[in-house]
């Protein structure tokens, strides 16, 4: 453990670099999920693993990795052998064996001692378990494939395996869910003592079964209800010792997800796998969201082929504000101003002043952060930030 800490301290002297691996396999599709995923077959898994190795070789690794995150899909659907195979690729990357944090998302049904052993062996430090709810009825309604018993068994196994940090993912504002039921879910999660809890307000994403239900009027949105659930959650988790550090994320001291924090602070990360996004070397973009096409691109030596954007200092400053304001710690505006003096700070200042005046934000020294009320309106705030940047760009 002490070895790990020393390594962390060393890596932190340089700019962080994250690695995201998208494992696109799922046994079935949850009603709320819009991520790219396919049904696993021996051939597709082998193709995927080969592809990750090839893609990793194509990346210009200019400094050691600081964090890794395997998401999906369901990385836990890979066999222990395949997990090791994927682990080898990661460990082969500079810094890949001396990471601060290595997270793997697991679905309760796929948590076996063998898989957990494989993950520990390759160096995974953090497990994120997709619980969503402890209420059987609501799990059914979401199309999830696990039971409450499976959740408990999975959690116990993860804890016994000795990972440094464990997260539970929960969802709220589910169709038909009452405020009491949600409070009970939070209580249940807290009672298990995870290090980190993520609570996601159900979002209606296009191309999901839920979206279809919403557009057919079978499910109704109620922002007031959602706002109350948000507020109740923040209070409940805060009282239980889980400090909120982002709109949907809570952790015991020292357990905030570094990988995600780095992303929100507009540091760099490399994404491997179909649909994975990258932000590196002055460019942001994503891989194609199709296993075969992704492989085809790789064979031609191409990656990050979709939605490519050149990262100018102004764009980074804009996004650092938009995404940083979602963090409870807020954004150090002075720092970004120094990094990017040409950005439209006049318009931004006017906006920030207004946010503070209206009780949506607080300002201390160089840092601006949203109040609870402001955080509930982070999208509107983000759109205002964009407008401020656009406004000045036109004026200039």
């Amino acid at each position: 453990m002490s070895h790990l800490v020393t390594e962390q301290a060393k890596a932190e002297t340089g700019a962080p670099l994250g690695l995201y691996v998208h494992v696109p396999f799922c046994a079935s599709t949850c009603d709320f999920c819009a991520f790219y995923q396919v049904k696993p077959t021996a051939r597709s898994v082998d193709g995927f693993l080969t592809g990750i190795a090839r893609e990793s070789e194509m990346v210009a690794w200019d400094r050691p990795l600081t964090t890794v995150f395997w998401g999906g899909g369901t990385p836990g659907l890979l066999s222990p052998g395949d997990l090791r195979r994927l682990g080898v690729v990661v460990r082969g990357i500079p810094g890949g064996a001396t990471m601060q944090e290595w997270t793997v998302e697991l679905a309760p049904a796929s948590v076996t001692p063998e898989r957990l052993a494989a993950l520990r062996e390759i160096g995974v430090t953090r497990v994120s378990l997709g619980v969503q709810s402890f209420q059987p009825g609501l799990l059914d309604a979401l199309g999830r494939q696990h039971t409450r018993e499976q959740v408990d068994r999975a959690y116990d196994r993860i804890r016994s395996a000795g990972f440094a940090s464990v997260n539970l993912d929960l969802m709220f504002a589910l169709p038909g869910q009452t405020a009491e039921e949600w409070a009970a879910d939070v209580r249940e999660a807290v009672s298990r003592g995870p290090d980190h809890i993520s609570t996601y307000c159900l979002t209606f994403e296009e191309d999901t079964a839920l979206w279809v239900k919403l557009s057919q009027g079978r499910v109704k949105l109620d922002p007031e209800h959602e706002a109350r659930l948000y507020e109740a959650t923040w209070a409940q988790l805060g009282a239980a010792g889980y400090g909120q550090y982002e709109v949907s994320n809570f952790a015991r001291p020292g357990h905030a997800c570094r990988h995600n924090l780095n992303t929100w602070r507009m540091h760099e990360w490399v994404g491997l796998g179909p649909s994975a996004a990258s932000q590196q070397a002055g460019c942001r973009g994503a891989n194609v969201a199709d296993l075969d096409q992704w492989l085809a691109h790789l064979s031609r030596g191409e990656r990050v082929t979709e939605d490519r954007v050149a990262l100018t200092p102004a764009l980074l400053a804009e996004d650092a504000l938009i995404f940083g304001l979602r963090l409870n710690a807020g954004v150090n505006v002075v720092e970004w101003r120094d990094r990017c003096p040409d950005a439209p700070w006049l318009a931004v200042e006017a906006l920030l002043t207004r946010l503070v005046e209206d009780g949506l934000a607080l300002r201390e020294d160089g840092t601006v952060r949203l109040t609870d009320r402001g955080r509930l309106l982070a999208d509107s705030v983000g759109a205002e930030v964009m407008a401020a940047f656009a406004e000045e760009a036109v004026a200039l």
Binding site: Y200, A286, F323, R354, R375, E384
Partner: protein, 598 residues
């Protein structure tokens, strides 16, 4: 046919008393038009007219009738506009006649418009032939009708003809009465040609077509004519009569009703009430009664979709061609964008123009609150007319404001009396007379400020009286009143579209109502937004727009950043389409909803 065998007459009636059906029967009976080509309400050609059972444009028609005395007569029937907004037009149509058939619905009896129209006819010294129509209705009450004729209109009951346009009863009696009772054309021996313009029509090929009644002399193609109001001369291209379609003939002579096509293109140049004479031998005196028509009621008209501005402009231009009484000028509003300030003869005229823009020209529009013309006398004696509240000068500079009033005649069932009196009081009216019409009805004569009847007076009258009440009015004097301009402000910035001129005592209630409505209709906002009503800087009512509660996206990780940016960008673009007032982005339809709701 000699002028002594010509009869010029019109039919006047309250709405729905069967004027158009009766006109149709007369046309059939005289074989002016055959039954098989007769659509119901032949004379009312505009869809709107048919729907509302009112006449907006004049539709004259010439009939030939062999009377029982064996002689042939030329009967010119003028179908007059039937609404107080067009009272000047009505008076010109009546001036073109020597007689009027006054229709009374046997079941309804005399109504407010019956009285008003009868008085107009008397004023023009027309021979009035009373006809009680719809006598075959089970609810017909002949005894009541004849008594009302005598009591209210002072017309001898024995003159009344009993008829039913629907069943064709009494049609011949009416035609015989027109021949026997209506005098032959007057003023035929005036030495020069004089024709009264009683309407005009714009034709895209032929320009302005003047509808005329020839009083003396003749007029024919290639004559050089002159408009006596302004001396404008033009060559006559064609003359003709209405059969009922326009039919070209060699010349129009004394007593004739017909049309003149000239080299004048613009209908605004050929004003209703003007006298046409011949340039070579001009008359020295105009026919009596000409006046310039000025709009009384104003409002802003704006396209719902700003892209429709040009379409609206074209529509207004077309409507203006056919309707010289309608005026417009471009204006712009912070809240509503680019549009037009429009002037109308009255409320119905305003409603009809708006409806025609929507239907015939396919432009969706929103109108601001109607306004009247206020006479403002400023400190130091300077006077000005204000037809748009936005132009009202600073209250500190105003000595007094005068507003137009009307003299209204309201006929209502006895049991609605209390409620109607309250309504009149609420509208700042004063009742001057109460006349009992019969067992069940009374007629109130009252003075009301014109601006108080602009919006919902008639609707409320109808609703209180369950449809039995009716109203007619004529313009009264300008009277000094304690009027103020009220501004509605969003975060301190006035919203021009809601500025209005109200009586001081009603300002607070109206201000509160508007603030509430806006607060309710403007979607929840991220920032705090105050809505205030103010008079000259003093806040008299306020409300707050609801605060937005939650719009945060739950999941936002590396892969979501691009998507999220797109989402926010969409949101930002959406805001651009909104009206920015007092730093508040407001969807344009929010204002529209408030205006529509009031």
């Amino acid at each position: 046919m000699p002028a002594k065998n010509t009869r010029n007459f019109c039919i006047i009636a309250h709405v729905d008393h069967g004027k158009t059906t009766l006109s149709d029967r007369l046309l059939e009976h005289t074989h002016t038009i055959e039954q098989r080509v007769m659509t119901d309400q032949h004379l009312d050609s505009m869809d709107l007219e048919k729907e509302r059972g009112i006449t907006i444009k004049s539709h004259p028609v010439t009939m030939t009738y062999r009377a029982k005395n064996g002689q042939d007569y030329k009967l010119n029937l003028m179908d007059t506009p039937g609404h107080v907004d067009f009272s000047y037009e009505v008076s010109r149509s009546l001036a073109a006649c020597e007689g009027a058939v006054l229709l009374i619905d046997a079941a309804q009896g005399v109504e407010a418009q019956t009285v008003a129209n009868a008085h107009l006819a008397f004023a023009q010294k027309l021979k009035v032939i009373p006809v009680i129509n719809k006598i075959d209705l089970p609810s017909a009450n002949l005894e009541l009708c004849t008594r009302q004729l005598e009591d209210i209109l002072s017309i001898p009951a024995e003159e009344a003809i009993l008829a039913s346009g629907k069943s064709g009863i009494g049609i011949e009696d009416i035609l015989e009465a027109v021949v026997a009772r209506v005098p032959s054309p007057r003023w035929t021996d005036y030495p020069q040609t004089r024709c009264l313009v009683f309407d005009s029509l714009y034709d895209s090929y032929r320009g302005c077509i003047a509808y005329v009644r020839v009083f003396s002399g003749t007029i024919k193609a290639h004559d050089m004519m002159m408009l006596m109001s302004n001396g404008q001369k033009a060559e006559v291209k064609e003359v003709g009569v209405f059969m009922p379609k326009m039919t070209k003939i060699g010349s129009l002579g004394a007593g004739d009703v017909g049309y003149i096509v000239s080299s004048i293109k613009n209908t605004a140049d050929v004003k209703t009430g003007d006298t046409i004479t011949l340039a070579a031998r001009p008359a020295t005196d105009m026919l009596p009664g000409y006046k310039e028509v000025r709009p009384l009621v104003f409002c802003g008209l704006y396209p719902l979709e700003s892209d429709d501005y040009e379409k609206l402009k074209a529509a207004l231009g077309r409507l203006r061609l056919n309707d010289a009484a309608f005026v417009y000028a471009s204006e712009s509003s912070l809240a509503l964008g680019f549009g037009f300030r429009c002037g109308f003869l009255g409320l119905l005229h305003m409603e009809i123009i708006q409806e025609r823009i929507r239907r015939e020209h396919g432009v969706d529009i929103i109108s601001t609150y109607p306004s009247v013309i206020y006479h403002v006398i400023k400190q130091g004696g300077e006077e000005m007319d204000v037809d748009n509240p936005v132009n009202m000068p600073d209250p500190g500079t105003i000595l007094e404001i005068k507003e137009p009033t009307i003299h209204a005649s309201i006929i209502l069932p006895n049991d609605s009396m209390g409620d109607i009196l309250s309504l009149i009081m609420e509208k700042r009216g004063v009742c001057e007379h109460t006349d009992t019409l019969d067992m069940n009805r009374v007629m109130l004569r009252c003075v009301l400020p014109l601006n108080e009847i602009l919006v919902d007076f008639n609707d409320r009258l109808k609703s209180i009286t369950h449809g039995y009440g009716s109203m007619d009015y004529e313009l009264g004097d300008y009277l000094t009143s304690d009027l103020v301009k009220m501004d509605i402000m969003i975060n301190g910035d006035p919203v021009d579209a809601f500025a209005c001129i109200v009586h001081r005592e009603k300002a607070e209630a109206k201000g509160r109502q508007l603030c509430e409505k806006l607060a309710e209709i403007i979607p929840p906002q991220m920032f705090k937004v105050a809505i205030q009503a103010a008079i000259g800087g003093k806040i008299i009512a306020r409300d707050n727009v609801r605060e937005m509660r939650k719009d945060v996206t739950a999941k936002c990780y590396g892969g979501d950043i691009s998507r999220k940016r797109k989402l926010l960008d969409k949101q930002k673009e959406g805001k651009k389409k909104m009206k920015l007032i007092g730093k508040v982005s407001i969807p344009p339809d929010a204002f529209i909803k408030v205006l529509q709701n009031n």
